[in-house]
Every structure is written in C-alpha cells, then in structure tokens.
Amino acid sequence: MATITYREALNQALQEEMERDESVFLMGEEVAEYDGAYKVTKGLLDEFGDRRVVDSPISELGFAGLGVGAAMVGLRPVIEFMTFNFAFLALDQVINSAAKMYYMSGGQIPVPMVFRGPTGAALQLAAQHSHACDTYYAHAPGLKLVRPATPADAKGLLKASIRDEDPVVFMEGEMLYNLKGEVPDPEDGDFVIPLGVADLKREGDDVSIITHGSTVHLALQAAKKLEKDGIEADVLDLRSLRPLDVDAILETVRKTNRAVYLEEGWPYVGIGSQIVATIQEEAFDHLDAPVLRVCQADVPMPYAKNLEQKAKPSVDLLIDACNRVLYRS
C-alpha cells in the first residue's frame, strides 16, 4: 500500500490500462503537452506518444463524437472533459450516440469507452463552472455512471470502467484531486473494483447516510459529529450510480430504518430522487421516517463566498436531516 493522491491514482489507472491494452487511447483538451488541466494525465504523452495521448481542439461535441465513432469499431477511447460543465455541448453524442448505439443497431455495435473528468463545485467558480452533472447521465439507459470518492476507488473503478463493454461516464471530484489515500501498489497485482458495488465507508446502527462522490467526505465528517451525540451513522458510498448497488442500499435501510441521501446536485429529479424511490418501493416496511435529501440549494451556484457556502450541502444541514429522520428535532 502506498499513500498517493486521487490524481495520482487516476494517472496510475490510465497508465496501467494503456499499457495493458493497445486499443486504449486518451483524448481531450490539454491532456497531452500540458499534462492535463488537473494533471491527471501527467507523463502519459512522454510514455505513450501523441498517437495515444491526444490534445483535442476545444470541440467537446466533436471529440466526444469522435470517441464514440472510434469505439464503434473497437477502440477503447478515454475522452477527457476538462470538466463536465463543458460537456453539455457533447450531450448529444453521449446520449444520442454512445448510449443508444448498441440498442438501435440491434446489438451490432457496442460502444466501449469512457467519458471522464471532474464535476461538482470547487471554490467560487460561479454558476457555469460549479455544477454537479450526475443526473443528466444517470438518466439515460445505455450509459453507466461511476463516481469515485477516494484514491483507491478512483483507481480501481477507472480501470473497471475502461474495461467495460459499454460507455461509462466517470465523474471525478474537482476538490478531490489532492486527496490522499492508500492505494494498493501496482506491483501487488491488478487492482480493479467492479462496477455496481457500493462501499460502506463507516458503520453505525442508527441512521443511514447514503451518498456518492465528493460528499462522501462531508458525510464522514457529519457522522463523526453525530457520534459525539451518541448517534452512529452508516455511511454508504454508492461509488457507481449505474449499475447501482440496490442491495447495499436496502441492507443499510433495513438495518437503521431511516436514511438521508446526500448529494452535490440539485434536489429536483436528482440522484436522490431515484434512491428515495427505490427505497420506498423496496424497503417501505422498514422505514420509520421519510427519507430526506440534502442537496445543493435549488439555485445556480452563486459566486459570493457566503452565498456559495450557503448553497452547498453542509455538515450542519446533513446533521439536521439525520436528527429529523431520527425524530430528534
């Protein structure tokens, strides 16, 4: 085990997969000579050359579609969006081409590829650069959606995503790149985490905090505070939103009988909406309280520091929600 950053973990995954499989190539804005806007692709150009590590023009729609086309004939592109904020232009290709190709061709043309990049709010980047985009991609059948929260998950899940036969949207946390954590050493063998397996990041019997992505850390902070108050929280990190580990969700809800969904995105038709629906459909008789959600304020992200703070989901909001489902407030 080595302690490395989330960024380094992603870099390792890319490096290992490119080395393992000649059909994997990397394309995106600034990924080659600049080493990546967030330095995730550092050193890869030197190692693999400009055939496999390619700086694209600022044409999200174009290079996303190019990736889909290349995948249609068997390559395994990793398309990097500098952030998913810029990928709205590419949504047509992601949804209409990547997600639907296999189906509308009657199973003739699979699209094995990864769209990756950061999403969610950073610090004072204002409305267009602070946006958790999960829900747009989670919505479409044909796509898979992965959200790692730790360096180990980032590595293991990116490797699994690259190997998957379907288009995978792999969303990283913009604020997580410097996060350090233990990751198995490359010498210790191929470290792959299968998609669709949630991870219980903390165990407790009183309340389930279910979340994904960057907010996993916020959930852990809140759980620590609740502990001082005698409340033990389960913190379930879904890690992949499609496939979704429904069994793990039901298990924690059946144990604690109360749940709060925490996410960076907006509440309306957010990821939490689906999770709540699933819980009430399949664990109704285990609920002792309505499932609550803690989300970003239902407004575009403001710039002003105090407003931004208020708009983001917070430890306090989460604790409050936990108390409410525990009938403690």
Binding site: F25, R51, S56, P57, S59, L61, G62, F63, A64, G65, L66, G67, V68, G69, A70, A71, M72, V73, G74, L75, P77, L89, D92, Q93, N96, S97, M101, Y102, Y103, M104, S105, G106, G107, Q108, I109, P110, V111, P112, P141, G142, K144, D164, E165, D166, P194, L195, G196, V197, S240, R242, P243, L244, D245, V246, Q274, T278
Partner: protein, 363 residues
C-alpha cells in the same frame, strides 16, 4: 410518379434502339455489364422505396420514413467505388445506402416493418439501418450527429494504420451544425481518411439551403482546410468517377475530402411531409423529375450508346420488382420481435453487481 415517367421515356426511345447494335460495348470506361448492374441497382433502390411508400400508406411501416427517391445516383455513385471493408455513415435517409453497401433488401424492409428479421431486429426502424459486418455504420437520426462518428472511425483507421476509407453522408442542412465544423476541423488536423459527401437536395426539410446559408454548400468546408469538390449527383457516371479518384487520394493518406453532390428529392422530406407546397412548387418538382431523374439520365445514355434495349430494361425492372416483392414478403412473414427483446441490447455488458434497469419487474 417516376414510374410513369420511366415507362413513357422507354416508349419514346423504343424505335431508335435496334439500329445502334454492334457499337463498342463500353461507356466512359465502364463495361456494358457494369453499366447494366448500375442501372439495375438504381432501379432496385427506386422500386424498394416505392414499395416502402406503399407499405407506409397501408400502415405496415410506422414512424418517420424518409425516402431516397431521386437521389439514387448519390447512393450508388459514392458507395460503389468503395471496398467491402470500407465504412459508410449516413443520416436517417438511409435505406438505399444500406442496400448499396450490401445489405439484403428483405432484412432492410423487415427493419422498416419493425420485425425480428430486420437488420437491427426491429429495434432501429427506418432511420437506423445498420450493417456492422458490411461496414454500414448506420443511419443516424440527429442532423449532423453522424459526422463526428465518421471522424472517429477515420481516427480508428489511422490509429490502426489501415488503408480503409470512411464515407460520411450528410444532408445540406447539416453543414450548419457545429458538429460538422468540429469534425471537419479535426479530420483536417489529423488527416483522417474520411470523405464527407453532402447530399445537397437543396432543402433542409422545407427550407431552401440559400435561405439559411450565405455561402453555397461547396464553400462551407473552406474554413476547415478539407479540400472541397462539387459534382452533379444525378449523373451516376460523373459521381462514380469523382469518388473513385477521391478514394484513391484518401487511401494513400492525403486526408479528408468534401463533396457537394447536387441532387434532388422527388418526395417529401418524410412520408409525413408534403412533396411540394409552400416551400417548392409542383412545377419545380415535375420539371426535375422530367429532366433530372438519375435513373432516366443513365438509361438514356445507355440507350444513346446502344448499350441497352427496351427488352433488357423491362426484364431488369421485372427482376427488380420481383426482388422488392420478395423483400416485402420477407418482411411481412417475419414475426414481430419477441417481447423479451425489449431489454436486450441496452447494455453490451450486464455487470455482475448492481442494477442496470430500474423497472424490469413491472414489465
């Protein structure tokens, strides 16, 4: 109807036929045999689309159905010169390109009928004809959506160091999409082996191209650095020859090419749109049908060169009609897809863990 026109013309020419016997058996470097196969092929496209029109009218085919009638030479003229392992992309007006790339008329018709025997098992329909094994990479439903995909296939060809070529059809209206400019730019930058062919039938649905573009179609690739060409897309021989030349360039690594293929659609934008109306007059359509029908153009050249007799043409047409009838029969006899197929082909890999579908128990 094109059919009536064709028959009339045949009669007009009938008297002059026999006297030309004994002339040289080729035209512009194409043998009589080749020329006959061209004519037969285009007749097949025409009869196929007429059959589809008929089937649509009686409710055998649903949804959107965009016919290629009038544009047959563009299908054959660009796909004909390709190798079997080359790739073709097109938009939703895609039946005849599929046939041109080698798909059988029965499975294509069955796809239109939404049947199990369709090329995509009935899941794609008229707008999504696919033949992956033949390099027919599909009919795509979003205007311009296929252009970056074709660039991607071009990328893969280059990546693998192959000498294949990717042909990408697009409608004239698609040159106004961002995807067009982004894809052509990348193709030029990376010298991708892609030939972009604009089927310039003058109208994007009901809007004439000149009303929405300051420059003619051929000039729209100017800013990308992709060499542009223009051709009479109703003239099969001219089209074929140009494509043959471009394929050679692309295969030898010269990078992408762009063609403005001037053609004309004899039918409405789709089966649910009028043939003429506020956007174009009946006279305009009738005039084009008379003077600019690619099948008539080729037929007359063959008649003039004494390479075709009326009997041969009739036999050819009867043969084609029989094939089309068989295609319709194949479609008719093919069952609807099994209901279990609803969920198949959504994912190529059903992961071992987790849930991918959120409603299956309900169905």
């Amino acid at each position: 109807m094109a059919e009536t026109q064709t028959k009339k013309s045949k009669k007009d020419k009938a008297g002059t036929k026999s006297s030309n016997a004994g002339k040289e058996e080729s035209l512009e470097g194409f043998s009589k045999e080749e020329l006959h196969s061209f004519l037969r092929e285009m007749l097949l496209y025409r009869r196929f689309e007429e059959k589809a029109e008929e089937a649509y009218a009686i409710g055998k085919i649903g949804g959107f159905c965009h016919l290629h009638i009038g544009q047959e030479a563009v299908a054959l003229g660009f796909i004909g010169p390709l190798r079997e392992d080359d790739y073709v992309f097109t938009s939703y007006r895609d039946h005849t390109q599929g046939l041109a790339k080698g798909l059988k008329s029965g499975p294509v018709m069955a796809e239109l009928y939404g049947r199990e025997g369709g090329v995509s098992g009935g899941k794609g329909g008229s707008m999504h004809i696919f033949g992956a094994e033949l390099g027919f990479m599909g009919g795509h439903g979003i205007v311009g959506g296929q252009i970056p995909l074709a660039a991607g296939v071009g990328w893969a060809i280059r990546y693998r160091g192959e000498d294949r070529v990717c042909l990408c059809y697009l409608g004239d209206a698609a040159v106004n999409q961002g995807a067009f400019h982004e894809a052509l730019n990348m193709s030029a930058v990376w010298k991708l082996p892609v030939i972009y062919v604009v089927e310039n039938n003058e109208y994007g649905m009901g809007t004439h191209f000149e009303r929405v573009s300051a420059l003619p179609v051929v000039d729209r690739a100017l800013g990308t650095g992709v060499p542009a060409h223009s051709v009479d897309g109703q003239d099969l021989i001219a089209t074929w020859k140009l494509m043959d030349e471009l394929v050679g360039k692309v295969r030898s690594g010269e990078g992408p090419q762009y063609v403005d293929a001037r053609t004309y659609r004899f039918k409405g934008h789709s089966m649910s749109d009028p043939v003429h109306g506020v956007y174009r007059t009946k006279d305009e359509v009738e005039e084009k049908k008379k003077s600019d029908d690619p099948i008539i153009v080729l037929r007359d050249r063959l008649f003039d060169a004494d390479l075709l007799t009326e009997e041969e043409l009739n036999a050819m047409d009867a043969d084609v009609m029989e094939e089309v009838d068989e295609a319709a029969e194949f479609a008719e006899n093919s069952p609807f897809p099994a209901e279990e197929e609803l969920y198949t082909h959504t994912y190529a890999e059903i992961n071992e863990h987790g849930r991918l579908f959120f409603d299956r128990r309900d169905r």
